[in-house]
């Protein structure tokens, strides 16, 4: 055991919290999507760290599926962004208030 598993957890916690803060604080829709990608990467880091710690390759395989879902999410999210931009002419998430949420 070279690198303690706690280090992975703490780095992953930092990246996840930064991503969550970006989702909550920023108005720009692109930055929100970037922050979601950051959070997914934090989770991947956790999976890889535990995969190494428990000497089991299932975790590394699960990261592949997370990346698949991230690719799907990026494609659909960007399509939604372009459709919204075409209709509303803005990217600020608080201006998409048609449903008064």
């Amino acid at each position: 055991m070279s690198i303690p598993v706690e280090w992975y957890l703490i780095l992953s916690a930092f990246l996840f919290i930064i991503g969550a803060a970006g989702v909550m604080a920023r108005r720009n829709m692109f930055i929100v999507l970037f922050s979601i990608e950051l959070m997914m990467n934090a989770v991947n880091l956790n999976l890889v760290g535990f995969s190494r710690f428990h000497e089991n390759l299932i975790g590394q395989n699960f990261v592949l599926f997370t990346m698949t879902v991230a690719a799907a999410e990026a494609a659909v999210g960007l399509a939604i962004v372009t459709a919204l931009f075409r209709n509303k002419k803005t990217l600020m998430v608080d201006l998409f208030d048609t449903m008064k949420g």
Partner: protein, 195 residues
């Protein structure tokens, strides 16, 4: 020892890049900093001896997904949004309070638990004996996880169709009423014929 040193270096760079992503007002700068963060995460995968994932992280994440983002950023004219207010008015204070609390909770839990490794599975020696990381990961992927692998391809197909439908430009002809005629051209666009 060298591994720990490099882990700290790459982790610090990754966190710095991530902080840059959520603080830049220029979207292109934020995107490039996100690529930088992902490259550092790939380096940490390399230190963890997850070689296949490190390459995939660079190829798929930094190479494909973020280039897709870059394409869309370049397509849209975003310059006017960089001068506007970038933060929510009241939510930013909530974030300033909540984010450190959540971070403290995560670190408290991570350090408070004595983690015990199951061990004895695919350690570095066993992976080397099995023919390397790529081969070992592939053996698990195509034996234990064959069904999830196929389902993942289905997810990609569905998201591809969804992305095309959502991003397609809708003109009046495509949205016109269609009528079932029962002839060879099963669905004819009536408006197109009349106009």
């Amino acid at each position: 020892m060298a591994e720990k040193f490099f882990f700290i270096v790459f982790a610090a760079l990754a966190v710095a890049g991530a902080l840059g992503v959520i603080t830049r007002s220029n979207i292109v700068h934020a995107l490039l900093l996100l690529v930088f963060t992902f490259l550092n995460v790939a380096a940490i995968y390399m230190l963890t001896q997850a070689y296949f994932l490190a390459v995939i992280q660079i190829l798929v994440y930094a190479g494909a997904i973020l280039v897709l983002f870059a394409f869309v950023v370049m397509f849209l004219n975003l310059r006017e949004f960089m001068e506007q207010e970038q933060l929510h008015r009241s939510q930013r204070w909530v974030v300033l309070v909540l984010a450190p609390i959540m971070l403290a909770e995560f670190v408290f839990v991570a350090l408070g638990i004595t983690w015990a490794s199951i061990g004895g599975g695919m350690g570095p020696e066993a992976v080397a004996a099995a023919g390397g990381n790529v081969r070992a990961v592939g053996m698990v992927l195509f034996n234990d996880m064959l069904l999830p692998f196929e389902v993942a391809s289905l997810i990609l197909l569905v998201s591809m169709v969804g992305a095309i439908v959502l991003a397609k430009k809708e003109d009046a002809g495509n949205m016109a009423l269609r009528e079932w005629t029962g002839e060879e051209e099963s669905a004819q666009v009536l408006v197109d014929q009349e106009v």
